[in-house]
């Protein structure tokens, strides 16, 4: 009996022919169960041998790296990325229109000024969000008052929360207008508390009240050596021609409505002849055309603004500590130039120190920046002292062993008043959150508990933190 393959009980070994046949059949079955073509019957392909290391023959030890993929798209054009970074979006068509939101008209500005801290006697606008009218928005955009970090793009149209400090500031502005006095103010507060927003509110009120507004949105652009500069003959001052020209253009654009009604009264010693009886709007435009003449034009423009019968002026600057020390510019002897030797900065410093006054009243407001800003001990001390002076407390003197004070900064800021901006009150927070809910941006019930929770989590009402917690970090 021939041994069967399947007969495992059988002890006799199968013949060699049977083994060969069976292994072949098994292989065929494994590789191609439904095919019996000759290719499949062929032996399996030999495996690749490892590279032999023959003595004296170099082997390629390089790992073949993939070449860097070539950029297929066009690189962004010059300035394109910056434009995208600086883009200000002021509207969101997906957000709801808030019913009953009042616009910041001159009457509303008056009403805000009447509001007391508790909002009892006044119009009760403290803790409410008011909208900014279209013309004001255009002007604010022209002076670059809006910042990319302020979340304007979340809402249907720009609106701003009226808080206790807004009422105080508005009251002070209107008083300055009435008395034709000059308000000099430093705004300070922790990061995200709304210093720049307070500036914006002051500017919006000023626009509503037909003031002339001049704003330096980033003080660091004046001092960090990115703009051209040139000595002003016959003085130790330095002009920044391009910046001044651009600034004049912005001033002209933002205040166009008022400036086009005002005519030049005096004759000025200008480097180029100009037409007679031109409007100040046209004058700004002319001055902005040529950087070399911009500074002379600005000086003439400022003189014109201080003639009797002109509107009040608001001069604001954001990021004050950048202009309270040495700049990045160098003089011809290769020494750093002090910021207060830059003509534009000196203009601001002279006014905030009270050396120069505004003839028709107005305000000079400087705001600090508390994120990534240089430390100015003099400025910090001046703000601290001003706050103590206002509170009628004992005034802190400067540290006698500290050498980093800046004498000129101290002098410039010693007479200015100060306003410390802290977190929102719970009432204000609630008003803000109700506005968000009405805009459809905050999809949550706004009650005492949620407000208290957000308020506490935001470091006792730091506005930017409330916004971040409620709007940006939703899960």
């Amino acid at each position: 009996m021939a041994a069967s393959i399947n007969c495992w009980k059988c002890l006799s070994r199968p013949s060699i022919a049977v083994i060969q046949l069976s292994s072949r059949v098994a292989r065929v079955a494994a590789s191609a169960p439904f095919s019996s073509t000759s290719t499949n019957l062929a032996l399996p392909a030999p495996t690749r041998k490892a590279a032999s290391t023959t003595k004296g023959v170099k082997t390629n030890l390089k790992i073949n790296k993939k070449p860097r993929p070539k950029e297929s798209r066009k690189p962004p054009a010059t300035g394109e990325r910056k434009a995208l970074r600086k883009r200000i979006v002021l509207s969101n068509t997906n957000a709801l229109e808030v019913a009953g939101m009042e616009d910041l008209s001159p009457e509303i500005v008056d009403a805000i000024a009447k509001d007391t801290a508790e909002g009892e006697a006044g119009s009760g606008l403290v803790g409410k969000v008011v909208g900014l009218p279209g013309a004001t928005v255009d002007s604010l955009r022209a002076i670059e008052a809006f910042k990319t970090t302020q979340g304007w793009g979340l809402f249907r149209r720009p609106g701003t929360l009226i808080r206790k400090e807004t009422a105080d500031l508005t009251r002070a502005l209107l008083a300055a207008q009435k008395e034709k006095s000059t308000l000099t103010l430093m705004l300070d507060g922790a990061k995200g508390t709304g210093k720049s927003m307070m500036l914006l509110q002051a500017q919006a009120s000023a626009f509503a009240k037909s003031w002339i507004v001049l704003h330096i949105p980033e003080a660091q652009e004046l001092s960090n050596g990115v703009n051209d500069y040139a000595p002003i003959p016959g003085s130790d001052l330095w002009a920044q021609p391009t910046y001044t020209a651009e600034w004049l253009a912005k001033i002209g654009k933002a205040n166009n409505e008022i400036l086009k009604t005002l005519k030049m009264k005096n004759t000025h010693n200008l480097p180029v002849p100009i037409e007679k009886d031109i409007t100040l709007a046209r004058f700004c435009e002319l001055g902005s055309r040529d950087p070399d003449i911009a500074w002379s034009f600005f000086q003439a423009f400022w003189t014109e603004l201080n003639l009797p019968g002109r509107p009040p002026v608001l001069l604001t600057l954001d990021g004050m500590s950048y202009i309270m020390g040495m700049s990045e510019y160098r003089d011809t002897d290769n020494k750093f130039i002090h910021c207060h030797n830059l003509a534009l900065v000196k203009h601001f410093a002279d006014h905030i120190s009270g050396t120069s006054k505004l003839a028709n009243g107005g305000a000079i407001i400087g705001s600090t920046s508390r994120s990534h800003n240089p430390i100015s001990l003099s400025m910090d001390l001046a703000i601290y002292q001003a706050l103590q002076r206002q509170a009628k407390q004992e005034i802190t003197q400067k540290d006698p062993f500290e050498k980093k004070y800046d004498e000129r900064a101290t002098k410039a800021l010693q007479n200015a008043s100060a306003m410390m901006i802290g977190g929102l009150t719970k009432k204000e927070s609630r008003g803000l959150m109700e506005y968000w809910a009405a805009s459809g941006v905050l999809r949550q019930r706004v009650d005492e508990q949620t407000v208290a929770e957000r308020w506490a989590l935001a470091g006792h009402g730091v506005a930017a933190e409330i916004q971040r917690g409620a709007l940006r970090m939703r899960i």
């Binding site: 050596g225 990115v226 051209d228 500069y229 990045e328 003089d331 002897d333 290769n334």
Partner: protein
Amino acid sequence: MFVPEKCPSADHVAILYMRRPGGFIPGEEFGATTTSNPWNCPGDSYDSFHTATMVFLLGINFPEHRLLKHSLETFYGIGTQHSTRILAKFSIFQRATVGSIHPKTITAITAELSNMTIETDLRKKVRENIARLKDMGSYRGRRHAMGLPVRGQRTRSQILTARKLNRTDRFG
């Protein structure tokens, strides 16, 4: 005449000729090489980089979008300090590009540069200093001649820099 072995791309030509150590004598080497094609290669025009607007500074062409400070620092003997000083002297801000400078100022800067010991003069001075050390038979002179460290460093290892630089006919 300085001619690279292979025909580099047009960009490389621009870089090579801009950054050629030793600089070019105006109107001589630089002009000669840029108007001829030493490799006789077809395709890209050899002096295609001249089509961009250039600014001529001490005999060297610079593309106008380049920072003036960086352009000055391409000269042998001008570093951060000197470039900063030159910019300060002419009241030019740090980020000024070559193209934004008034031609008069460019002329003045060129005049300033030509009064300074830079490029070939400075290289010559360095060579003379080494030659002086060697001629008077000093230890430092000998070490220079032998291509060994001069200032008492050990020679057991790591003397590549000395081998590269310490020579009597030092380039710069």
